[in-house]
């Protein structure tokens, strides 16, 4: 199972300069974070991805002074990006929610071929679980903490999802 390699390191001095109000540093920091935020927002917000990434970066830069540890910027930005992507995607989400059991197993080869189709059939919240688990490599506990859902619930849902997916694709 290939989890994406981590994003390039961001110089803590750049984060601190941006926190002090240096707007050139703020723009440089935005450029550094934009690819990562785009990778998080894209699969969750789909065609609303650019709007979600834009709103996520606004929230990140507006609240930058609240970040105490510049070394934690990616984890901090990820939480904001996921929240904004779910919020933006919800506004245009289809009325009928998809079944959580549609979430394929992590590492399942079917996911590579059908990822866009699978994503489009899920609700934004379910896409967020998938992004955090498969794209970001988070475990269930970290995923549940970030999405503010009990860990046990995430675990049992994922178990059922994997079982259902296998039934659907590999009868």
């Amino acid at each position: 199972m290939a989890v994406m390699t981590g994003p390039p390191e961001i110089d803590p001095a750049l984060v601190r300069a941006a926190q002090r109000g240096d707007r050139i540093a703020v723009a440089d920091l935005m450029d550094a974070l934009a690819p990562y935020v785009g990778r998080v927002c894209g699969p969750i917000a789909l065609h609303d991805g650019p709007d979600a990434a834009q709103d996520a970066l606004i929230a990140i830069l507006k609240n930058l002074r609240g970040l105490r540890d510049p070394g934690a910027i990616y984890g901090w930005a990820r939480a904001i990006a996921v929240r904004e992507a779910v919020r933006v995607a919800r506004k245009t989400a289809r009325a009928a929610p998809a079944d959580l059991a549609d979430i394929p197993a992590r590492g399942d080869p079917q996911l590579a071929a059908d990822v866009r189709d699978v994503l489009a059939r899920l609700t934004p919240e379910h896409r967020a679980v998938l992004v955090l688990r498969d794209l970001e490599g988070l475990d269930e506990q970290a995923t549940s903490a970030l999405l503010n859902v009990p860990a046990g619930t995430v675990r049992s849902r994922l178990f059922r999802a994997r079982r259902s997916f296998r039934k659907a694709w590999l009868p």
Binding site: A27, M30, V37, G38, R39, A45, G49, P50, L57, L61
Partner: protein, 156 residues
């Protein structure tokens, strides 16, 4: 397998919207200029020539050093004020900052021409508190430099 996942891209104008929304005390405007991107950006990125025409409070804007896309510039105002600016300039993107001022331009090709964005404002302590009042007051002013650029392009 993650290479197939959709990625959200942010073009320069969207990035300038981010800077505008996250920066207190600035005015921001954007407009579709009915001219090709290369024509628009070639004019706008000639800062020494075009910036004083777009921003009429500016008498001159002189690039004093350049290293790649990073530059420094010396600006002179109509009333004799002087300021040293740090500048980042690349295709479709320009950010400028002095001790008390901030400016920015961004452009992307769009159906019918070029979407052009302009940002300008103050960098002052406590400006955050004044932002709700300043932003609506300044933003209409941010449209003027774009209109001046558009007029000059039309006159060519």
């Amino acid at each position: 397998m993650t290479q197939d996942w959709p990625v959200a891209e942010l073009d320069p104008v969207r990035r300038m919207r981010v800077i505008a929304a996250a920066t207190p005390g600035v005015g921001y405007a954007e407009k579709l200029i009915p001219a090709p991107f290369n024509t628009v950006w070639e004019a706008a990125s000639d800062l020494e020539r075009e910036l004083p025409r777009m921003v009429t409070d500016l008498r001159s804007f002189e690039i004093t050093s350049a290293r790649g896309e990073r530059m420094t510039a010396r600006a002179r105002g109509r009333l004799g004020q002087r300021a040293r600016f740090d500048v980042v300039l690349r295709p479709g993107w320009c950010m400028m900052q002095s001790r008390f001022l901030i400016g920015g331009m961004a452009a992307v090709p769009e159906a019918g021409g070029t979407r052009f964005a302009f940002l300008g404002g103050l960098r002052l302590p406590g400006i955050r508190l004044l932002d709700p009042v300043l932003r609506p007051a300044i933003s209409p002013l941010a449209l003027r430099p774009i209109s001046r650029l558009e007029q000059r392009l039309r006159a060519r």
